[in-house]
């Protein structure tokens, strides 16, 4: 077998050393009656040419979407990935080591994590960050658990405009430890209803969780939200599903957040049908002992040279076991590395410029679409790179027409928000040219024209 490096001769010699005659002799501790007798029903072995062909076929099976223009966002964002990110991150030295338990032979990974942590602190305006979490949704859940550990209070208030999948994940995580979740509604503007929030939050509230830009693309005013949480002794958790927005918008730390967490996929990770992505988390220094996840820290070696290690491990499962701040062990280190390369490559100016491009593209599209008779903007609040458009009909009715025009116009919101009937969440980033935006506008108008006469053609 091509991944095995022993010859038959080697195997013989080694068996002799061990004192056995057959490989099966090594497995005698498995009682015979439960030893698997047959051969597993697994196809193969596939040779490499067959494997490549097979996967190419599966990859192309859906590749129809390569020829489509998609305006899907909603927690996963199409962004250009510079060649350097792939090039550098694919080096075997980065791809193939384990978690850096032996720092003397892992400085590359560790220094990169340290830089990642710094970048996340700079982006969020908070004091400390960890080495990564699984993704934005589980990161949000970890933040909620962290707040509950810190405050020892039983209730958590989630913005209804928090990504539905994040809310569901928080729900799954919280159910078993008896945390009570409440939701605060959004206003006409599409923002958290501050009055309701003020009423909901009390001295039993562990945390208030608000996303910005929220699931509708609307940029929240974080400061008043976190003022409310702070007044009631609850923690303010800022969730950022589109990390790029941090380059343009007020950082949550500055706005009073205690914890910021989110999804870093926008920083150099492909859409990849949902993963692997990159959960990130930052918090105020004072919460250091309750912070989940791996953390790299600076130290010196015996010769006094600067170096990096995994640190504060007394929070972690391998030391504290059931008392750990989290069970996380393997995280998304390589994804964090990609984000680090991406951010350092774009730099301060490049990242800002990109955020502005996203902003202007989406707002251009929003404005142009809103000019079409029959369409309206569901929310008036300012948006970053996505927004909600209300159609006069159910978007599914127009779908065949859009498909014919090779467009996926956005995410249908009604499933997750029954009150948002006929609403589409539409995202535009730097990958969309003005021509593509204009085409969406044109096709949208045509689709509406089309409809009364007989719905979409097939």
């Amino acid at each position: 077998m091509k991944y095995i490096s022993l010859s038959t001769q080697d195997i013989k010699e080694m068996m002799k050393v061990i004192g056995i005659d057959h490989l099966d002799d090594l497995f005698t501790t498995i009682p015979e009656k439960i030893r698997y007798p047959g051969a597993l029903k697994i196809p193969g072995p596939f040779s490499e040419p067959e494997l490549v062909q097979l996967f190419q076929e599966m990859a192309e099976h859906q590749n129809s979407y390569a020829s489509l223009t998609s305006f899907l966002g909603g927690g996963a964002y199409p962004h250009f990935i510079p060649a350097v990110v792939d090039y550098v991150s694919s080096r075997g030295e980065f791809v193939s080591p384990y978690t850096p338990y032996q720092p003397e032979v892992s400085q590359g990974t560790l220094q990169a994590i340290f830089e990642f942590q710094t970048l996340i602190c700079q982006l969020t305006g908070l004091d400390m960050a960890n080495a990564s979490l699984y993704d934005g949704a589980s990161g949000a859940a970890e933040a909620v658990l962290m707040a509950s550990r810190i405050t020892r209070r039983p209730k958590v208030v989630l913005a209804a405009s928090l990504h539905p999948q994040y809310r569901q994940t928080i729900r799954t995580y919280c159910r078993n430890i008896g945390l009570i979740l409440e939701e605060v509604a959004f206003t006409e503007e599409g923002r958290v209803d501050l009055e309701s929030l003020d009423k909901l939050v009390d001295n039993q509230t562990a945390a208030v969780v608000v996303q910005s830009p929220n699931y509708f693309g609307v940029v929240e005013e974080w400061a008043p939200v976190f003022q409310i949480s702070r007044q009631k002794g609850a923690l303010g958790i800022a969730v950022i599903a589109e990390a790029l927005s941090l380059a343009l918008l007020q950082p949550p730390g500055e706005a009073g957040a205690d914890i910021a967490t989110g999804e870093g996929q926008s920083f150099g990770l492909p859409l990849a049908y949902g993963g692997p992505y990159l959960g990130f988390m930052a918090c105020r220094q004072e919460f250091i002992r309750q912070f989940p996840g791996r953390i790299a820290g600076e130290t010196i070696d015996v010769e006094g040279r600067r170096g990096y290690v995994l640190t504060l491990s007394t929070r972690e499962q391998h030391i504290r076991r059931e008392k750990a701040t989290s069970n996380i062990c393997t995280n998304q280190a390589w994804c964090a590395l990609r984000a680090t390369i991406y951010l350092e490559l774009l730099g301060r100016r490049g990242l800002r410029e990109l955020a502005l491009h996203n902003f202007y593209k989406a707002n251009y599209l929003r404005e142009e679409l809103s000019k079409i008779p029959g369409l309206s903007l569901k929310f008036k609040g300012p948006v970053f790179n996505e927004f909600v458009l209300q159609l006069p009909v159910a978007p599914s009715q127009l779908e065949p027409y859009f498909r014919e025009k090779k467009i996926i116009p956005g995410v249908k919101l009604e499933e997750d928000y029954p009150q948002l009937k006929n609403c589409l969440l539409i995202c535009a980033t730097e990958v969309h040219s003005k021509d593509q935006l204009d085409k969406l506008v044109e096709v949208m108008a045509a689709a509406l024209d089309h409809r009364p006469k007989k719905g979409g053609q097939s």
């Binding site: 597993l40 978690t99 251009y364």
Partner: protein, 486 residues
């Protein structure tokens, strides 16, 4: 060797490594008015493309990796990562798809997911799988949630989870996160679960027993069927940490022996690379009883079409966004198909052979606390060396000077000063012998020149690092010189 600074120290605000195309839509400043804006991020790096590439190139060269050599980190199954897997996972059809695309456009992706589920079922004998967990610990948590949900449906979630003392730290931690209290089960002298202790601890308040099999000593829990019976009799579930499945493929199917829940680590057994700490993937397999509780969505095959099913009333809900670490799944699928049934069995055979060869070749110079036969790994301790003032960490660090990666030294907690060695099946005899020789040499050095070990490593980019200082005076991020904090 040139010492590579932090990128922030190379930064100069006038350099630039990346250029965006001109914006092609109108950009009136006033549009920004309604937004809570920030300034450009101060002290954010700004360097050239050559500087970024060299920065990471140089950093990378300070890393040891599986591509470089032997990496016998016990329990971590650091096997060679086949390169074709990276290639197929990089196909634009896989990397380019948005997770919210309509199902008819992602049939290939769904087929990949479903296919891997089916293969994992066959390998483990479980009734169903979810691929959503992002890592082993995430799988453990998911698995415990399934169990808890089941018990809840029966009216009572129960209170305790039993876990052997030798377990990986994530096990108790995951059980706890799921709202359970952990009761530790002491191992017996053979290093396996003590049936008497288990019988005693196993009450109707116990939701499950979590065991690792082969356990963290590399020992197969031969009484697995009896264990299952004991647990089941009290209405509990048997959870198996399948991180060590590499020892068993084609030889033992947990599902056939009463295991109710198992998680696998695709980034161990199925060769997807560790990436310096992830991304991984921790699929969870369950018996029929627990299938209704799997997280949403579930991939359903109908004829030759696939769809995502959200209508699962008993489901524990979501454990993350979307559908798991998809590209990791692609790699694991490619791996399994490249091996086929025979190949998988060969993997476990050779993995166990290699471990036993090392065990046999070192047992005269390193102390073996448990003499029970082991499978894919062997756990020595520093007992023989302690008299020279040398501990397992010193031995580990000295190995680095020989160009090798150290074994695991931080657990199992049942072995004081453990050296947990897992060679995996991909190593050549030459590399195994190199390791054995180095370990034997080090045993000599420990007696004759212990300071050589205590001061090791000598040849690395940094030498032994002060971990205490890092924890006592945490510096967790760079700040510009002269800034007021830290």
């Amino acid at each position: 060797m040139i010492r590579e600074p932090l990128i922030f120290e190379l930064s100069d605000q006038e350099k630039s490594a990346f250029l965006w195309p001109p914006l092609d839509v109108p950009a009136p400043k006033e549009k920004l008015a309604g937004l809570p804006l920030r300034q450009e991020i101060s002290d954010f790096p700004q360097v050239s493309e050559p500087e970024v590439v060299r920065h990471f190139h140089r950093l990378s060269r300070t890393n040891y990796s599986v591509d470089e050599g032997f990496y016998p980190l016990g329990s971590c199954t650091m096997k060679f990562n086949p390169k074709v897997n990276e290639k197929v996972a990089a196909l634009s059809g896989f990397t380019g798809g948005h997770p919210l695309l309509p199902e008819d456009l992602v049939q290939g992706n769904l087929r990949v997911l479903k296919w891997l589920e089916e293969l994992l079922k066959e390998i483990t004998g479980m009734a169903a799988f979810t691929l959503q967990p992002a890592a082993g610990a995430h799988g453990e948590l998911t698995g415990m949630m399934l169990i808890r949900s089941y018990h809840e449906r029966q009216g009572h979630p129960r209170k305790y989870v039993l876990i052997p003392d030798s377990a990986h730290g994530t096990n108790p931690s995951s059980a706890h996160l799921c709202g359970y209290q952990v009761i530790e089960i002491k191992s017996n002298e053979q290093g396996t679960v003590d049936l008497a202790a288990l019988r005693e601890a196993m009450t109707e308040e116990v939701a499950a027993l979590m065991i690792t099999n082969p356990n963290t000593l590399g020992i197969f829990e031969s009484n697995i069927s009896e264990i299952a019976d004991i647990v089941h009799q009290r209405g509990g579930f048997l959870y198996m940490d399948g991180a060590n499945m590499n020892a068993l493929m084609g030889r033992f199917r947990p599902g056939d022996s009463g295991v109710d829940v198992i998680h696998l680590n695709l980034h161990k057994t199925f060769s997807t690379p560790h990436g310096g700490g992830g991304p991984g993937s921790g699929p969870v397999g369950v018996s029929e009883k627990l299938e209704p509780f799997l997280p949403v969505p579930v991939v359903v095959q109908e004829g030759d079409r696939f769809r995502l099913d959200y209508n699962r009333p008993y489901s524990i809900g979501r454990v993350r966004s979307f559908y798991g670490n998809f590209l990791v799944v692609v790699k694991a699928l490619a791996y399994i198909l490249a091996l086929g049934s025979q190949g998988l069995k060969e993997v476990s055979g050779i993995a166990v052979l290699n471990a036993n060869y090392i065990r046999r070749s070192l047992e005269d110079v390193y102390y073996l606390q448990y003499t029970t036969p082991t499978l894919h790994e062997c756990v020595f301790s520093d007992k023989f060396q302690r008299k020279y003032g040398v501990n397992n960490l010193d031995i580990a660090k000295r190995l680095i000077d020989y160009g090798l990666h150290p074994p695991t030294v931080s657990f199992p907690l049942t072995v004081h000063g453990a050296l947990m060695i897992e060679p995996t099946e991909t190593e050549s005899k030459r590399d195994l012998d190199m390791f054995i020789q180095a370990m034997r040499k080090i045993a000599q050095e420990a007696a004759q020149q212990p300071e050589l070990l205590k001061e090791a490593p000598h040849t690395t980019y940094v030498r032994r690092l002060d971990e205490t200082r890092a924890a006592r005076q945490p510096v967790l991020r760079w700040r510009p010189e002269g800034s007021d904090r830290e």
